[in-house]
Amino acid sequence: MRAAIVHGAIDVAALLAEVASASHGATVLFIGTVRDVNDERAVTGIDYTAYVPMAEREMQRILREAAERFDTDAAVVEHRTGHLELGDASVAIAVAHARRAQAYAASRYILEALKQRVPIWKREAYADGTREWVAQQGAMTAHQD
């Protein structure tokens, strides 16, 4: 189980190789890529930034949670920071499991938890030349007291 913030292109083949094993019959790979539209605005690129040590720690915690819930022992997640062009992969999650239902469920769990609470931010650049920090819908936004 490995979680990393990376600065260059994500090598999904390497992630797949990392979780591969003859004891797992099911592998689910999720890849998030930069879309050309968000909220009906034409997007031309995204800059991602992260609080790197906390983001890696939080992603590691999410992998441990997935391991407890879904009995996953083979999961890896990488999130890219810096400037991404349309179609570039911002995040990739690879999960291998003996059972396909758990592989899908763990993959989805990791993705949703990452979007909700890992300290990563994105600034979208639009076709009209403007740029804007965008919040993830459903993300935590205030501290709990």
Partner: protein
């Protein structure tokens, strides 16, 4: 005591910097540090109750800080 505040994304933009050394009285909490930051030029653009982290862990506003702590003010996240 000295505590380092880290600012990210839109919060770094409004304060014009990504890190601030804060001199705080002993026993100060994360909420006290936040008030200190909000008193800086541009600081009133920070929300009154943002997400906070102390030493890489999400923390409540009442968390007591110690010298050398790292306090991060965390804008709404957008990974994925």
């Amino acid at each position: 005591m000295t505590v380092t505040a880290l600012l990210f994304a839109s919060y770094a933009d409004v304060l014009g910097r990504e890190a601030v050394e804060m001199s705080l009285p002993a026993g100060a909490t994360a909420a006290d540090a936040l008030a200190w930051l909000r008193a800086l030029p541009g600081g009133d653009a920070l929300p009154p109750a943002p997400l906070l982290a102390v030493n890489l862990e999400y923390a409540r506003a009442g968390t007591v800080l110690h010298s050398g702590d790292e306090l991060a003010v965390i804008p709404p996240v957008a990974g994925g």
